[in-house]
């Protein structure tokens, strides 16, 4: 009798205890890595003539290319809302979409399009963002890229880099004809390449001005290296440096008023800074070694550069007004072509490991270098303005191509180009023709 009672009490006790906190804990340590599922309803169109750009297609392609999203196919959509009042969240829950994008494009006046979009959190049934743009047809693609940036930022917490451009040099060597070098500018997705400079002699080192309107570059059109600055939109250009010897490696100061240059007018390659308004030159390095490939810190205070004063090329840092230089790289016997990440906290550069030239990043707080690529002829790394992607030049099957790698090394992609050799990529700052405020 007593034993039975005891058993009974124990049972009650256990039940009571179990009900105080959750009865069950389940640990989840993995998920699927196909990206956040997102539904993008093809934007509606109102107007006589359909515009050349399909805004929602561009957005879908951007988000897919980022590797962070799985865009659900529209043929599976139960409904196709274009306005807020038509959204039925259940329709999207059953597709397991975590986010939903709807929108519309309307021709509101001759040559004036109104583009509107909304981004929703499906399970919370709330709007995360919504904007309306009124633009001419030439800006429709830019609008699409900015919409991608907004969606990307809202859903990943990181800024996107879709509304940007890339500059690069191509070389075609037709048989029985002179080689053709082209400095081109295209959207960050490779669309719409425009030739900015065309030459039968080498072109190198394109560098974007901070306002994204001009490119500085090195041209051998006069059979030796000279530095030019050219306005991208109208092609007007100025000859900036044609001193005796080398004129190369142009790098804009963050305020756009000065250009760092490598000149050997005083005997060997040294770093100078030129004030663009007065053309006044100031010499920063005084070393018989090669000093070149200057790059400014985002706050404009420091310049990092390549120097072989210690016997082989390494990265050094000095004040932007010159003075003593501090060595930054110590691993491996070749480190060159460094540039800052947009937040100024780390640098990307080319390093040589056992004869292989690879892209590496290194924090400036003394942490170790991290090598991001495993190929062997990588060069010219350039950060995207969101600091998350790095574009660089590499070789695939004997041909020069462009590739991008995420700053943590996880995602790598190749850019597609037509025939010819592609090299010297430079990622532009954010396009400034469109702005949005939270």
């Amino acid at each position: 009798m007593i034993r039975a009672a005891a058993k009974w009490l124990a049972m009650i006790g256990m039940l009571w205890a179990a009900n105080v906190h959750a009865a069950l804990t389940i640990e989840i340590t993995r998920g699927v890595e196909t990206g956040t599922p997102i539904a993008i309803v093809p934007f509606s169109w109102e107007g006589a003539v359909k515009p050349a750009q399909n805004v929602s297609d561009v957005v879908g392609a951007d988000l897919t290319r980022s590797g962070r999203f799985a865009v659900l196919p529209s043929k599976d959509y139960v409904s196709q809302p274009h306005e807020d009042k038509d959204v039925v969240f259940k329709d999207w829950r059953i597709l397991k979409a975590e986010a939903l994008v709807i929108g519309s494009v309307r021709l509101v006046a001759p040559g004036k399009y109104q583009v509107q979009f909304r981004l929703y959190d499906v399970f919370k049934e709330s709007q995360l963002a919504g904007f309306r743009y009124t633009v001419g047809p030439e800006l429709l693609r830019s609008v699409a890229h900015q919409i991608s940036d907004i969606i990307y930022q809202k859903l990943t917490g990181e800024p996107g880099a879709f509304n940007t451009r890339i500059a690069y040099v191509t070389l075609e060597e037709p048989v029985h004809a002179r080689p053709v070098y082209k400095l081109q500018v295209a959207d960050s997705d490779g669309f719409n390449p425009q030739t900015v400079v065309r030459s039968t002699e080498p072109l190198l080192s394109p560098a974007w001005s901070p306002d994204g309107n001009r490119l500085a570059y090195v041209s051998f059109e006069d059979k030796r290296s000279k530095v030019y600055i050219q306005n991208v939109a109208d092609g007007r250009r100025e000859l900036i440096a044609q001193f005796a010897g080398i004129n190369s490696a142009p790098a804009w100061s963050p305020d756009g008023k000065r250009l760092a240059l490598t000149l050997s007018r005083d005997g060997n390659a040294e770093i100078y800074v030129m004030r663009l308004d007065t053309r006044e030159l100031r010499r920063l390095t005084h070393d018989p070694a090669i000093d070149t490939e200057a790059a400014w810190s985002p706050d404009g205070h420091d310049i990092i550069f390549t120097s072989d004063r210690a016997g082989s090329p390494q990265i050094y840092r000095m004040s932007a007004s010159g003075g003593s230089a501090e060595r930054l790289t110590f691993d491996d016997d070749y480190n060159a072509r460094a540039s800052y990440a947009p937040d100024g906290k780390s640098i990307v550069f080319v390093t040589r490991q056992q004869g292989n030239f690879r892209i590496a990043v290194m924090p400036l707080n003394g942490g170790p270098m991290q090598v991001l690529t495993d190929t062997s002829l990588d060069e010219s790394p350039s950060f995207a303005p969101n600091g998350r992607m790095i574009i660089y030049a590499t070789e695939v099957r004997g041909r020069g191509v462009l590739a991008s790698v995420s700053a943590d090394g996880r995602v790598r992609q190749l850019f597609k180009f037509e025939e010819g050799d592609v090299r010297e990529p430079a990622w532009s700052p954010y396009n400034r023709d469109l702005q949005y405020k939270e």
Binding site: A22, L24, I26, E27, G31, V32, G35, E98, R132
Partner: protein, 261 residues
Amino acid sequence: MLTQKLRRNPGRVRAVFYAVLVHVVVIGLIVIGFRWTSQTTSDQKVIQAVAVPQTPPRKPEAPKQPTPDEEQARQKAEAEKRQQAELKKKQEEQQRLEVAHKKKAAEEKAQKQKEQEQKRAAEVARQQEQKRQQKQAEQSLKQQVEAEEKASQDAARAARAATVVDQYKALIRQRVTHSWSRPLGSTKGLKCVVRVRLTPSGEVLGATVVRSSGNPVFDRSVENAVYKAEPLPLPNDPTLFDNFREIDFIFDPDKDKEANT
């Protein structure tokens, strides 16, 4: 000299004054106009997006969006109702167990008495004939075995219940794992606990983040994972639902054995 000249010709003074005035006005207009033009061109260069805020909730779908006070009251009432229902259920459960237990105790007692009686009868029979003794012995043995079987069946049932819970736990884990679109990018050091209340059919009554990872994107992804896993697989046996009524999901990618960056 000049002043003398001017005094002699007041008309000329006025003329000069007006001439200067007109010049000033014209120049002023040009300056202002220039500034105005340059302002508008710089404005036209950058196109501002216009924010379209979330449309306020639609009234016709009344149950969906009540006023905050109504909502609170309603939720409170619902919560109370739920609590009471749960309490009642708990009480019923306890009563059922009490009864089962009493029954069990009574059964055991009866069993014991029976055994004793049989033993006595067996002993008496043994004194008479060996066959009858053996038969009785066999019978008592048989009954003993049956009693043991019954006891072990009870234990097995309890154990089976435990296995079933484990099985469904594994099923739920698998379902949620497959529904979790893990944020790409580093998730090092991120851990989030979501407490989920379920209906007996596996639907999510509510999911709350009881321990945030500090990263809102990570938190949102785990909440979404739980919702996307609906309906969660639950055992048919309603007596086992209590184990699954409330589940704490601990999302901890650092614990993934197959190491990732």
